[in-house]
Every structure is written in structure tokens, then in C-alpha cells.
Amino acid sequence: MKRGLPAWLTARLALAIALDSAVQLLWKLAALQLPGSLSPSALAAAALHQPLFLLLGALFVWQLANWLRVLEASDLSYSQPITSLSFVSVFALSVLFLGERVDAAKIFGIAFVFAGVWLIGRTPHDRRAGAAGTP
């Protein structure tokens, strides 16, 4: 991350990544508990009675509230790609808990995501702050 990024903003970005990871994993789990071959309306009704979907709804609201705070103090083109780190955390959690295999392509994938986030982190996080960075 670029020097000068406020600690609270770093924490909010980390929270955004954590919430995004939790939402992705919960969504998978919740979808697995729904009966198959239902019409979209029946599927929506079934989802409303599924506790995991209610938890997902609460997480979405928290995620939105947190994200709006992030955007109050940073450029969209800065913060949004940084949340791609959730792909790395979801993969790591899938390896740890779901037994997903690790191969060379995925290691390179993680390296590329980190490199991208590092490059974006070197640019000014908020054009209104007028902070110096790499052009």
C-alpha cells in the first residue's frame, strides 16, 4: 500500500475484502441447500426461508455500508481492484476447508493479483487529497 493511506481506510478495505470473501463462501453454501429444479419465484420463496440467506442479506447490508465509507475517502478506480484480493482469500479458504488443490497456475494467479494490487497501491488513493504517487 502507498505510504499515507490512512489506517482506518486500510482497515475498511481489509474489512471489504473479508466481507466479500464471507459472502462468496456463504452464497455457495446457501445455494447448495436450496432444492433444485424450481421456478425462479419458488426459488426466491425457498431462499427467504433459508437462514443462511438471511445471514447473507445482513452481510450485504454491512458490506454496502462499509463500501460507501471506503468510497468517501478513495477513488473508485483505486479501491475496487484492490478488493480482488478476496479471490485470493476465497481460494486460500477453499484449500484449507474444502480441499481444493493447488497448482502452478493458481500460484501464478495469486502472484499476479498481488502484483496488480501492489501497483495500484503505489498510485494516489484519492485525487482530491492531491497526494503524490507514481504516474
Binding site: L71, L76, S77, P81, G109, I120, T123, P135
Partner: protein
């Protein structure tokens, strides 16, 4: 429209809708007087994007949808530059390119 094309095209459409949704959220921070309007529009677009994505997954595998969906990073960069007047520098573009390559490799065999 052929089913083979419908899925990827729907995912691309999702990325575009997601981009506009994110711009609305950023607008809510830039224009406090119309904050609720922009948040409401952003949430509506987000819901539309989720619905489109659900339909798209009936035509395309997740392992294909994820890399195509990472096109949203490009859309956000373009919209941030054009609509929000953010300085999307070469370094930021390079970072976006690395992120897309990384996401594609991570999700490529999901």
C-alpha cells in the same frame, strides 16, 4: 442468439452493469445532497446485475464466467476516468491488467 454466445455476452453485460452500479455508489459520496438517489440507483443496478449473472450461469460454467466477469475492473477504470474524472494512470492500468490475469488464472480451472 446462440446459447454458446448468450452466456459470455450476459457476463459481459453484468460487468458493465456492475461498473455503473459502482459509479453510482461513488457518486453518493461525491454528491451528499443526492446521496439516497445514488445509493438507491446503485443498489437497483446491483440487484439487476445479480439477476443477470444468475441467468448467465445457466449458459456458462463458473470457471468461464469469473475471468469474463473480471472485465468489470476495466469497465470501472474506464467509467472512473470518463464519468468521475479520476486519474487512471498507466500504473493503475497495469495493476488492473495484472489483477485480471491473476483472477483468470485463479478461476480458470474452478
Amino acid at each position: 442468439m446462440r446459447a454458446a454466445l448468450a452466456g459470455p455476452l450476459l457476463v459481459v453485460l453484468c460487468a458493465v452493469v456492475e461498473g455503473f452500479s459502482q459509479v453510482c455508489f461513488k457518486k453518493s459520496a461525491l454528491a451528499p445532497a443526492r446521496r439516497h438517489f445514488w445509493i438507491g440507483t446503485g443498489v437497483a443496478l446491483f440487484v439487476l446485475q445479480a439477476a443477470l449473472y444468475t441467468v448467465a450461469l445457466q449458459f456458462v460454467e463458473v470457471s468461464t464466467a469469473f475471468p469474463i466477469g473480471s472485465f468489470a475492473y476495466v469497465v470501472v477504470a474506464i467509467l472512473s476516468r470518463r464519468i468521475l474524472d479520476e486519474p487512471v494512470t498507466r500504473t493503475r492500468w497495469l495493476g488492473v491488467g495484472f489483477v485480471i490475469a491473476g483472477v483468470s488464472l485463479l478461476a480458470g480451472q474452478a
